[in-house]
């Protein structure tokens, strides 16, 4: 009896565990940011304020940091930071592969700035995974542009320079 109970319990537990996996996956799908790393996991010391980056870009010569937009391509095409390259979306495996390809020939101590601006910082599904990916690839000098609300409000509306198109 004990062995039958154990087998049944094990079966029930297995079914329950599988159900939870499915539910969890569905829940993950329904809340895109839930299963991905939050932007808030990026250490504050690695954050760059928009004003600082804009000042740097205005003063820098052609040897500035590699600037990567890791969010939406539709938004990138509307407006992006001058010299930025599209490298997203960070929340998708395909986007992370693109990111990896784009930085393949960048020195590991090279300066990289990533940004997104799709939505409020604590809701962004792209920055956290992109930042982690770059760290996992061995990059030592990665900074994240802190856009508290979105790219429109925190960059464009402030009158900072943009480029448009692909």
């Amino acid at each position: 009896m004990y062995s039958i109970f154990s087998s049944k319990a094990l079966l029930l537990l297995t079914v329950a565990a599988l159900s939870l996996q499915v539910t969890g996956a569905r829940g993950q799908f329904s809340d895109p940011a839930a299963g991905s790393l939050s932007a808030t996991t990026i250490p504050p010391a690695r954050l760059l304020q928009p004003g600082d980056l804009n000042r740097f870009l205005m003063e820098a010569n052609s040897n500035g940091p590699l600037i990567l937009q890791v969010g939406s391509h539709v938004m990138f095409a509307q407006a992006h930071i001058p010299r930025a390259v599209y490298a997203g979306p960070g929340s998708q495996p395909g986007g992370l592969k693109l990111l990896e390809r784009l930085v393949a020939s960048t020195p590991k101590n090279g300066e990289i700035v990533i940004y997104c601006g799709c939505c409020p910082w604590n809701r962004c599904p792209n920055m956290g995974p992109a930042y982690k990916k770059l760290l996992d690839l061995g990059f030592k000098n990665v900074k994240a542009l802190y856009l508290a609300n979105n790219f429109g409000d925190d960059w464009v509306a402030r009158g900072y320079e943009v480029e448009k198109g692909e």
Binding site: S30, A77, P89, C119, G152, D153, V156, V162
Partner: protein
């Protein structure tokens, strides 16, 4: 015109062309006619904004990766059912880069109102959609009466929608 003056003009024109675009505050669309568009929705039906004159339209820009958007979509579906007879029409414009995730999300959330795929052109027409969600409330004359950005108290938005419907 002297040669010097001509060269001055050419130099100025050249300098102006070489300067990157300064970001501008997004143009104020509230109070103006909603930019028109004609697009097919996910089901292949033509959606012509002009044909919505006489209706109150909620034009919602969203994306599958936008968490606050996922909260809004089913609420808007309820509003469509609740206020459709009063003349409310909801049109959703996805700013995703492809439609496969959009179709899955629309099916999962049981969204029946038209969902279109947006792009940079449409985003720019609406003042630059550079953060989500963004929702425009358009009155029966086709004028934008409100622009709602980011996460918001949907009860307040619903109250606003009711007041526009009542006019």
């Amino acid at each position: 015109m002297s040669v010097v003056r001509f060269l001055q003009i050419i130099l100025c024109a050249g300098l102006l062309c070489s300067v990157g675009l300064r970001g501008q505050p997004q143009p104020k669309l509230v109070g103006r006619a909603a930019p028109e568009f004609v697009r097919s929705d996910l089901n292949g039906h033509e959606i012509d904004l002009k044909r919505y004159h006489g209706k109150v339209v909620i034009l919602n820009f969203w994306a599958t990766w936008c968490a606050p958007c996922q909260v809004e979509l089913p609420e808007f579906e309820k509003w469509q059912e609740r206020y459709g007879a009063d003349g409310l029409e909801i049109i959703a414009i996805s700013m995703d880069d492809g439609d496969s995730a959009v179709r899955m999300t629309v099916q999962r959330l049981h969204i029946d109102y038209p969902v279109l795929m947006g792009d940079a052109y449409l985003g720019e027409a609406y003042g630059g959609v550079l953060g989500l969600p963004v929702t425009f409330l358009i009155d029966r004359e086709g004028k934008i009466v409100d622009k709602i950005k980011g996460e918001t108290d949907l009860r307040q938005v619903e109250s606003r929608v009711r007041s526009v419907l009542a006019k």
